[in-house]
């Protein structure tokens, strides 16, 4: 049975809370905007509300419930100790407008987090302000524009973006006002160097590159790519979405990147996908440090023999301004990620990436005889295979839906766009061999079903509360609200 909406469950007069008798005189509030009697607020008892949301939560699939190999999303398990630390009263009960003397612990943690992210990435400075990944991209690209403008170089209008990029890259560039030029990939899944060379001129503002890219491949000519873009005066943006492959192994700042966003909600185990909020700090090379958003956390009075340092806020000289009210997602993002980094330490972070790469290669090795893997090289933290079989009309979408019947979250599908019927698989480091084997066995069994019983794949899923959705109808006939207030 489909759980009704909470509005449909409402019945006039039911109540979950009984207010105590008022012990102050009644006061008539002005009607108008403050009190809206026309809003049909649902009326239910507490137990009905609890059961309603419990029922909805059972429809959900989460990384706490099962394997979630959603490529490019790094759906790793989020350790529960992060939930304890971010709820410590000293963090929880503070307000961003408190005098800095009263929140030195928070500021010390933010300062140290900036330092740790610098150390991990090889960048000169870090802001914790951006709300999530795409916001971090927007922040980084704004700084790239500010850098060129500060040098009076207004002709740089092109942003180069590989065809394997996340869709957010062209979107962020477009929002800042750059023209996007797509650079194709070569036969090995690298940036096509000839195509890149053809675009490198004095109108290039920069290039946004994800490395390893969305095929899960580390660009074999990364230094040449960066050299070409730098050579024509452009800046290199690293999309940090795939940082989980690199921790402790290679630092984007050392490779020559000028700016990168981190996804704390991917790499550093902050919940995401409905469990957020995300957090998208941005690291920059020395030449961009003066353009960072304000404020950063800094030491405003050095420590002496008697006192610890005094932490406070500092404003970079040519700041692009504020990217967010207050200081980013402190408790939900930064404290959880800080806990995760502190728990693992430097060697532990390196283990994370090595196991993430190992797990992806293990799955790839088990599946590549059954599913075609284009760009067949040793992968990093994820790989992309084709969800189609010769002589059948089974497509990636059908396979993704069928996996739900076996209680797996489907992989990312139809992305990246350069692979036909793409299934993009990122197991992450937190899955053990048994889980990986179960997933591989299931995909191999589905390939067998494609021959013996294709109908069961075409009509999947069969075991979920809802069956196959009509995606065309959903996209064309938008019904986003069950009730709208009538015009006054």
């Amino acid at each position: 049975m489909i759980e009704p909406t909470i509005f449909e469950l409402s019945s006039p007069g039911r109540t979950g809370v009984t207010f105590p008798q008022a012990d102050v005189p009644a006061f008539d509030l002005p009607e108008a905007d403050l009190l809206r009697g026309d809003l049909p607020l649902p009326e239910l008892a507490e137990v009905d509300v609890v059961r309603h949301y419990m029922a909805l939560s059972k429809y959900n699939y989460s990384v706490d419930g099962g394997f979630y190999p959603l490529g490019s999303c790094t759906m790793k398990y989020n350790p529960k100790i992060n939930e304890d630390t971010c709820r410590l009263p000293g963090f929880l009960h503070t307000h961003p407008l408190q005098p800095i003397e009263t929140v030195q612990g928070n500021l010390a943690l933010m300062f140290e987090m900036q330092e740790w992210l610098k150390e991990i990435s090889g960048f000169a400075a870090v802001t914790l302000q951006p709300a999530a990944g795409a916001h971090g991209e927007f922040t980084g690209v704004l700084m790239m524009r500010a850098y060129h403008q500060s040098r009076g170089d207004a002709k740089r209008v092109k942003m180069l973006i590989p065809d394997a990029a996340h869709g957010t890259n062209p979107a962020s560039s477009g929002l800042v006002g750059f023209s996007v030029v797509t650079i194709p990939s070569d036969a090995r899944g690298n940036v096509d160097l000839d195509a890149l060379k053809a675009q490198c001129d004095d109108t290039v503002a920069g290039m946004m590159l994800t490395n390893p890219n969305t095929l899960g491949l580390f660009d074999e000519h990364i230094e040449k790519v960066i050299g070409l873009v730098h050579g024509c005066g452009g800046l290199m943006y690293a999309d940090g979405a795939n940082l989980n492959a690199l921790l402790g192994i290679v630092r984007p700042g050392d490779l020559g990147f000028d700016v990168m966003h981190f996804n704390l909600h991917k790499t550093f185990a902050v919940p995401h996908g409905g469990g957020g909020p995300g957090s998208g700090p941005v690291g920059v090379a020395e030449k961009l440090a003066d353009f960072l958003p304000t404020p950063l956390v800094g030491i405003i009075e050095e420590a002496d023999d008697e006192n610890p340092p005094l932490y406070g806020f500092v404003t970079p000289k040519h700041t692009i301004g504020r990217m967010k009210a207050f200081h980013g997602h402190f408790g939900g993002g930064v404290v959880r990620a800080y806990t995760y980094i502190a728990m693992h330490g430097g060697e532990g972070l390196k283990d994370i990436s090595q196991y993430a790469v190992l797990n992806a290669n293990y799955l790839k090795a088990r599946l590549e005889k059954t599913y075609r893997v284009p760009f067949d090289r040793t992968c990093m933290h994820e790989f992309v295979m084709e969800g189609r079989f010769e002589g059948t009309d089974i497509r990636a979408l059908d396979i993704a839906k069928r996996l739900m019947d076996y209680d797996f979250h489907p992989p990312t599908n139809y992305f990246p766009l350069i692979v036909h019927e793409a299934l993009m698989i990122e197991p992450t480091e937190t899955e053990n061999k048994d889980t990986l084997d179960r997933f591989a066995d299931t995909l191999i069994a589905i390939a067998e079903e494609a021959k013996t019983n294709p109908e069961i794949i075409k009509t999947a899923p069969h075991s979920t509360p809802f069956g196959r959705m009509d995606e065309v109808k959903a996209a064309k006939e938008l019904v986003l609200c069950c009730w709208l207030p009538e015009e006054q």
């Binding site: 992305f415 766009l417 036909h420 995606e471 065309v472 996209a475």
Partner: protein, 126 residues
């Protein structure tokens, strides 16, 4: 896959061009790759000058969003206003009702013929 009309010319980016009428559309191969198309926005108006390779429309399917590029340079003389109301016609009649714009001044000499375009698509399938 339906046959690729031999009267049309084709861009590698999957647009067709009818040199006789100046009409531009999206190939059958492209609509098949995109699957069900649910939204179309034409980015140019009659009277605009476009150059080959310039984005003239944006198409969204349940799988992906994609730009449509001008296969030739020239002047836009007409825009198919009905297309936005019936994006699914790109799936059902890619070479018929689902033309995007009409361009005057291009001859399409640099484009592929049907056989060369089919060969290009076949090479991409692997």
């Amino acid at each position: 896959m339906s046959t690729t009309p031999s009267t049309l010319k084709y861009a590698k980016s999957d647009e067709w061009f009818d040199a006789a009428s100046g009409k531009v559309g999206l190939s059958d191969y492209a609509q098949g790759q995109l699957s069900d198309i649910v939204f179309v926005e034409i980015l140019v108006s009659a009277g605009d000058t476009v150059s080959a390779g310039q984005a003239i429309a944006s198409v969204e399917s349940v799988k992906a969003a994609s730009d449509v590029y001008a296969p030739v340079s020239g002047k836009v003389v007409a825009v198919n206003e009905a297309l936005a109301e019936a994006p699914e016609s790109i799936n059902s009649e890619p070479y018929g009702a689902a033309w995007f714009i009409q361009i005057e001044g291009g001859n399409g000499a640099a484009l592929l013929d049907a056989a060369a375009y089919d060969a290009d698509c076949a090479a991409r399938a692997h």
